[in-house]
């Protein structure tokens, strides 16, 4: 590759290999985006964590490239968001072409007043590199490269691992094991767990090319383009003037042949024209599946990311959903490890992330059925939609080139406190919704979401929460910080000014309104007036302490 050289992270012998190893609270298997995000989140909560990886470097090839707004907000909380946004390519507009005509255009973030854009495209290796560098700043976390898990023995109160290294094997015991070792998860195989779902009979070529071009930073998708008849193609811009191009090849394509430059170059030439100057950075041929494990928690073993579920790439739901998995898991695990919540809180990782996964699988399966129709009649209807899309607006809504990743609204979770009977809000941000951002003026950041940090946060509009009540909430076993919106005085909490009026608008923040946010920045409960007992009851429910 011309634009990127993979770093090499050297194998290091750990003290656990010499002395009888210490029991670890948490071990993470897999130093990909999901495992590294989990480790950073744990280490930021001062929970010691060891990450084991069988390799010595970050992702080879760009792989996951589209990071959604919600993921960027999580990365902000993990101290990596700014680097990703600075290096990456922001975009929010997508265009879908049928043959050589534009069928429709969409804008994924049509409103202003959010810190982060709808999407940032960045090669996965950069994200992983930034996460590895962030971990180096955190004394509670270490990554052990070339430490490969070769045996897993679940126990009633933990997990015993056998780990293979260039220096020989050793054993390590942990209270909790987070499994984030990817689509071909070794740990999943070692535990004999099978995931259920479907494999799609289609093959795609991914090519990353380096090219100086004034193409816009947008997602362009073609059905049946003149340069690649009867198949689809997708174009995305990444950092360093690298472009991602996906070509649908069909099931009969020979993956070994299609990977060869002499096969790839004519395809690119047909697409980009005879004069384009480009170099191939990386290419791969892939098939895909939509499937998941029946459950993600198996006693003290917790699956996340591709190890837990697989989706097709259309919709950018792989890495995004994996990072959202650990965003949901880590605060719960931290409370359990601190003794502030019972272990059954971790059952709600399944209760919340399985519906989220199923939503992703549903969208991903539908997109895939549209892009790769599985039967003659499915193909006929797909072609009928594309044919109608040119002239009729209704058909454009049916064209499905990937419905792009949005965070799940945990509507049916047992951890949430629904709105009280008779209370109405002119805001869709009910319990379970991810926080909506807005510009603010305050003691730190100019963005609302940055005030929702690693614990529970009560955001109170209008009349101030009594200082004694705010102090008491901050001193509970599961503490809650009070953030006051408006020119309130008399609170020891943080006071924010609703700089553009958007916070009140988005939350229907009439005076007295209080929103309780969970540590993962999802709404936990909301009320029209402050009541300490109600806040404590909602926190107790949200931590399985009720």
């Amino acid at each position: 590759m011309k634009t990127y050289t993979n770093p090499v992270y050297a194998y290091e012998r750990s003290a656990d290999q010499d002395a009888p190893p210490r029991r670890r609270p948490v071990v993470v298997v897999g130093a990909g985006p999901v495992g590294l995000a989990a480790a950073i989140d744990l280490a930021q909560r001062d929970i010691p964590v060891v990450v084991l990886d069988d390799d010595t470097t970050v992702s080879v090839g760009s792989r996951a490239i589209c990071y959604a707004k919600r993921t960027l907000e999580i990365l902000d909380r993990l101290g990596c968001g700014e680097r990703v946004v600075q290096k990456g390519v922001e975009w929010k507009v997508g265009r879908v072409f049928v043959r050589d005509e534009l069928a429709y255009r969409f804008d994924l973030l049509p409103e202003a007043g959010h810190r982060r854009p709808a999407f940032v495209n960045l090669q996965q290796y950069y994200l992983e590199e930034y996460l590895v560098e962030r971990i180096a700043d955190l004394p509670s976390a270490t990554v052990r490269w070339q430490h490969k898990v070769v045996a897993v023995t679940p126990q009633d109160d933990g997990v015993v691992l056998r780990i293979e290294t260039p220096d020989g094997d050793y054993w390590l015991t942990c209270d909790w094991l987070i499994v984030a070792d990817g689509a071909k998860s070794t740990v999943r195989a070692l535990l004999g767990l099978e995931s259920e779902g479907q494999v799609f009979r289609d093959r795609f070529l991914i090519a990353d090319i380096h090219m100086l071009s004034d193409f816009p930073a947008e997602r362009w998708f073609w059905f049946d383009p003149p340069f690649h008849p009867n198949q689809s193609a997708l174009l995305h811009r990444q950092a360093d003037d690298v472009w991602r191009i996906d070509f649908q090849l069909g099931w009969d394509a020979d993956p070994d042949e299609e990977r060869k430059p002499e096969r790839i170059l004519p395809r690119l030439r047909a697409m980009l024209g005879p004069k384009a100057e480009f170099d191939i950075e990386w290419a791969s041929v892939y098939t895909f599946q939509c499937r998941r494990l029946a459950k993600f928690r198996h006693g003290h073993v917790l699956f996340a990311g591709d190890a837990a579920h697989l989706v097709s790439p259309f919709g950018a739901r792989g890495a995004n959903s994996g990072i959202q998995d650990v965003d949901n898991l880590v605060w719960k695990l931290a409370l359990v490890l601190d003794g502030a919540a019972p272990a059954r809180l971790l059952d709600t990782y399944d209760a919340e992330r399985i519906p989220a996964t199923d939503e992703n699988l549903l969208h991903s399966t539908r997109s895939t059925d549209f892009i790769s129709p599985k039967s003659a009649i499915s193909r006929t209807f797909r072609d009928a939609v594309l044919s109608l899309a040119k002239r009729h607006a209704f058909a454009r809504r049916l064209v499905n080139s990937g419905r792009l990743s949005l965070p799940h609204h945990y509507a049916d979770s047992p951890l949430l406190t629904p709105d009280a009977d008779g209370t109405t809000f002119a805001s869709a941000l009910g319990a379970g919704a991810p926080a909506a951002d807005a510009p603010v003026k305050g003691p730190g950041s100019d963005w609302f979401i940055d005030y929702l940090t690693s614990g529970f946060t009560l955001v109170a509009f209008g009349p101030s929460v009594p200082p004694a009540a705010a102090i008491a909430l901050a001193q509970d076993t599961v503490p809650c910080r009070v953030v006051q919106v408006g020119a309130a005085t008399g609170s020891d909490g943080i006071v924010l000014e609703d700089a553009a009026g958007l916070l009140r608008e988005r939350y229907d923040g009439a005076p007295g309104t209080c929103y309780l946010f969970r540590p993962d920045q999802h709404v936990c409960a909301r009320w029209r007036s402050f009541d300490s007992r109600a806040v404590r009851a909602a926190i107790a429910r949200a931590t399985a302490n009720d």
Binding site: A376, I377, T380, F381, D383, A384, V385, S387, L388, H392, F394, A395, L398
Partner: protein, 68 residues
């Protein structure tokens, strides 16, 4: 809840039927299938109502058993 109308509603049924058959004249099977699919999509959008569409989908499939 809107209901799928199955009482006679087409003023000149023979004319409509003849037009439907004529629509497919000179087409091969693949083209006919495409025309039918477009027709279904156009009519479905005109109806719009989810309950009516669901009832129509069910009525169309009634008495048809998939081969083993």
């Amino acid at each position: 809840m809107a209901v799928l109308g199955t009482d006679p509603n087409i003023a000149a049924p023979d004319d409509f039927y003849a037009a439907l058959i004529a629509l497919h004249r000179d087409l091969d099977d693949a083209q006919s299938a495409l025309v039918n699919a477009k027709l279904i999509l156009l009519l479905a959008n005109h109806i719009g109502d989810a309950d009516v569409l669901a009832a129509a989908l069910a009525a169309a499939r009634e008495d048809i058993v998939a081969p083993r």
